[in-house]
């Protein structure tokens, strides 16, 4: 039987699957909602460094002099611009402690009793930041933000002091106090953004899911319903059936991948720095690398429920270990080693490289090779298995 006929039959089977899909309104809605929820969820639940706003902080000014009041005024002025804190007053450490225990505030600032007198006598003025240990991530952010803010206020004060007291020209004073100037610069414009980080990963994941869940589901469902028999008794090559299903699921996966891309650009402000055609090529490569695994699961599971269970077992570790949601570098080394065995890791890395960093083909050649290799090996195992399974 010619390859043309196989393709012809598979296109009709694919057409049938897509037609069925398009007739189900709920499935069409889910096609858009699933990626939207996924983006919203992962985009907003993870805190990022600069994202605190209106965090309740209590301020205890115990200073007996005037410098404490000055600092408070300055802090309030900065806060009215940035709106990161919701400032309230407290009397002392114990007061702040009670309020944190009651969950009324997330942290506190204490200006020490001898703040003014220390400064007047040429010593450092002590400021204490009180943190809530039950919420390590928020504490870390508050600590960082407040340290930086108060540090900058100190620098400003020093600049002022130097120029007035020691008569150093004001454009030189900063170099005396802070001789090093650190600047952060990305290789592409813009600040790092969590959506930018997760969007490529979610795209790769959705394509993987549509093949790993969609394919076994599509075939085992027809097996259970008995409709698969209709195709099996027709004078068509059995390869047409699997190819038809792959065509339908790939189309669905790609459409969903592109919906994510559109949502990311239009709603979440993600910017694509690389070649969009390369992005689409990579999505197709994802399809190729997961197709074999999908067919393999289909071959050795006898019904829909078993297929679903096997898929879930395989998919969850892949989703969480492949650096889709959190950077792989944050994982312990042994987990990183496992992640390096998963094809989704390479798909995610490659897509992220192209989309966020504007990488070209040469920069992601290793990933491309791994994906092609994995896909080929899987297909070589899966196709004979499938043919055998279909003629039990």
């Amino acid at each position: 039987m010619g390859a043309k006929k196989i393709l012809h039959h598979s296109l009709w089977i694919g057409w049938k699957d897509l037609l069925e899909f398009s007739r189900s309104r709920l499935r069409l809605i889910m096609l858009v909602l699933m990626p939207l929820f996924m983006m919203l969820m992962v985009g907003f639940i993870f805190p990022s460094g600069s994202s605190i706003s209106n965090t309740p902080i209590a301020l205890a000014n115990m200073d007996e002099g005037t410098f404490g009041d000055m600092l408070v005024t300055q802090l309030e002025a900065i806060n009215s611009k940035t709106g990161m804190m919701d400032l309230s007053t407290a009397t002392d450490f114990d007061d702040i402690k009670t309020k944190i225990q009651d969950g009324k505030i997330s942290g506190g600032i204490i200006i020490s009793q001898d703040f003014s007198s220390s400064l007047m006598s040429g010593k450092q003025g002590a400021i204490t930041l009180v943190t809530d240990q039950s919420n390590p991530q928020i504490s870390m952010i508050i600590e960082g933000v407040l340290t930086k803010t108060i540090g900058e206020m100190g620098t400003q004060m020093a600049v002022h002091k130097l120029s007035t007291t020691y008569n150093i020209p004001s454009d030189h004073t900063l170099a005396v106090i802070k001789p090093y100037n650190v600047q952060v610069k990305g290789i592409v414009p813009g600040k790092p953004n969590y959506f930018q980080f997760v969007a490529p990963g979610i795209m790769a994941m959705v394509v993987m899911m549509s093949l790993m869940t969609g394919l076994p589901h599509a075939i085992s469902y027809e097996k259970d319903m008995g409709t698969l028999d209709g195709m099996l008794v027709a004078p068509i090559n059995r390869f047409s059936i699997i190819l038809g299903k792959v065509i339908a699921q790939t189309t669905r996966g790609l459409v969903q991948g592109l919906i994510i891309l559109a949502l990311a650009i239009l709603i979440f402000g993600v910017v694509i720095y690389g070649n969009i055609l390369l992005v689409i090529f990579l999505l197709l490569l994802c399809v190729f690398s997961f197709v074999g695994l999908g067919i393999l699961i289909t071959s050795f599971t006898e019904n829909e429920e078993t297929a679903t269970m096997v898929m879930m077992t395989l998919m969850f570790p892949m989703m969480f270990l492949s650096g889709v949601f959190f950077p792989m570098q944050e994982m312990p080394w042994y987990m990183q080693d496992i992640a390096h065995c998963l094809p989704l890791t390479y798909a995610t890395t490659a897509l992220r490289g192209v989309m966020v960093l504007g990488a070209g083909v040469s920069a992601i050649s290793t990933e491309i090779m791994v994906l092609i290799g994995f896909g080929t090996v899987m297909l070589l195992i899966a196709i004979p298995m499938f043919k055998k399974a279909m003629s039990k």
Binding site: L19, P235, N237
Partner: protein, 338 residues
């Protein structure tokens, strides 16, 4: 050999230790309607699935339309049509779309396919429903489409697995009518499975009674019925107004009685052998103060033949509780894990 459509030799299918089909051999002539008659789980569907190349035989061989079902399976598929007990249709597609898909899988060119679709739909008077989704149809309407779907490719041999299962009496007689017409008009050889004796009697030229995976008897319906009368079996229906369970078991325990079937609260159907059978049964009823309202001497049906051939074994089956009930191997116990 030229007028043989199907030839099976020692065809066997085992699921583990269980032989669902156990060394069956038979021929089906071209143009005949051949029936497999048997209770659920007798091996009818498994036999059909092997002949349709959906399942590989464990032992033995068969040729369908002159081609070996294992070595030349793709050749076999070009000559056959299957109407499965599970309907081969997609609910979200319209009747026409369903037929079109399968027509395309059978490589029927576009213009001819449109003609065929029109033809088969008019055969079952479903033309006006052509563009409606199958999911909106009644079971009877669905089954009509399901049957004609098997005709799209004008198969030489059509397999029908329980074509009237679960249909109301009207749809049942319509489907039987269609099967009859296909056989006469297209000269299609038809292999039919059923557990309804009347259906086999009405439609089939020859009937193979299959039980526990073996063919227990194979002949034309009339000869099968004669088998009973030859050995002097009588079938009577008794209507006893005060029928009790005790009475039934007493009748059953009579030497001459081979089977008793309760029709309803007052009527029983009794199969018995021997010249004195009739008198013995009536004596038993009278001795127990049974009031006989009527006695009907029945023509033996295939049902009686079936009971005669397999009756005792059916009971063993229940007590042993080893053999399965239902179609095919028993489903495994499922657990849902989320």
């Amino acid at each position: 050999m030229n007028n043989i459509a199907i030839k099976a030799a020692n065809l066997t299918k085992k699921f583990g230790d269980l032989a669902a089909v156990d060394h069956i051999s038979f021929d089906v002539k071209k143009g005949e309607i051949f029936g497999f008659l048997g209770p659920n789980g007798a091996g009818k569907t498994t036999a059909i699935r092997m002949l349709c190349t959906l399942s590989r035989p464990t032992e033995g061989s068969a040729t369908v339309a002159g081609h070996d079902i294992v070595k030349e399976d793709s050749k076999v598929r070009e000559h056959i049509g299957l109407v499965s007990e599970k309907m081969i249709m997609y609910n979200l597609l319209t009747a026409k779309e369903n037929l079109k898909l399968f027509g395309k899988l059978y490589n029927i060119p576009n213009d001819l396919l449109d003609k065929r679709i029109h033809e088969v739909l008019s055969l079952v008077e479903m033309e006006k429903w052509a563009n409606h989704q199958i999911g909106t149809f009644s079971t009877g309407m669905k089954q009509r489409i399901n049957v004609v779907r098997g005709l799209l490719n004008r198969p030489d041999i059509l397999f029908l697995d329980e074509p009237t299962l679960g249909l109301d009496p009207q749809s049942t007689s319509e489907i039987r009518e269609i099967i009859h017409r296909i056989n006469i008009e297209n000269k299609t050889t038809i292999i039919l499975t059923t557990h309804v004796m009347v259906e086999a009697d009405m439609l089939c030229n020859r009937v193979g009674i299959i039980d526990h995976g073996k063919i227990a008897a194979l002949d034309i319906p009339i000869n099968l019925k004669r088998m009973i009368s030859k050995i002097g079996t009588t079938v009577v229906e008794l209507d006893i107004s005060n029928l009790t369970n005790n009475m039934v078991s007493l009748i059953q325990s009579l030497k001459c009685v081979s089977s008793v079937v309760m029709k309803d609260n007052t009527r029983i159907k009794v199969q018995a052998k021997g010249d004195d059978a009739f008198n013995d049964i009536i004596d038993t009823v009278r001795q127990n103060n049974g009031k006989i309202r009527s006695i009907i001497n029945l023509e033996p049906t295939l049902e009686d033949v079936f009971l005669h051939i397999t009756g005792h074994e059916v009971r063993e089956q229940i007590s042993n509780n080893v053999k399965m009930v239902g179609h095919g191997p028993q489903p495994r116990v499922k657990t849902r894990i989320r």
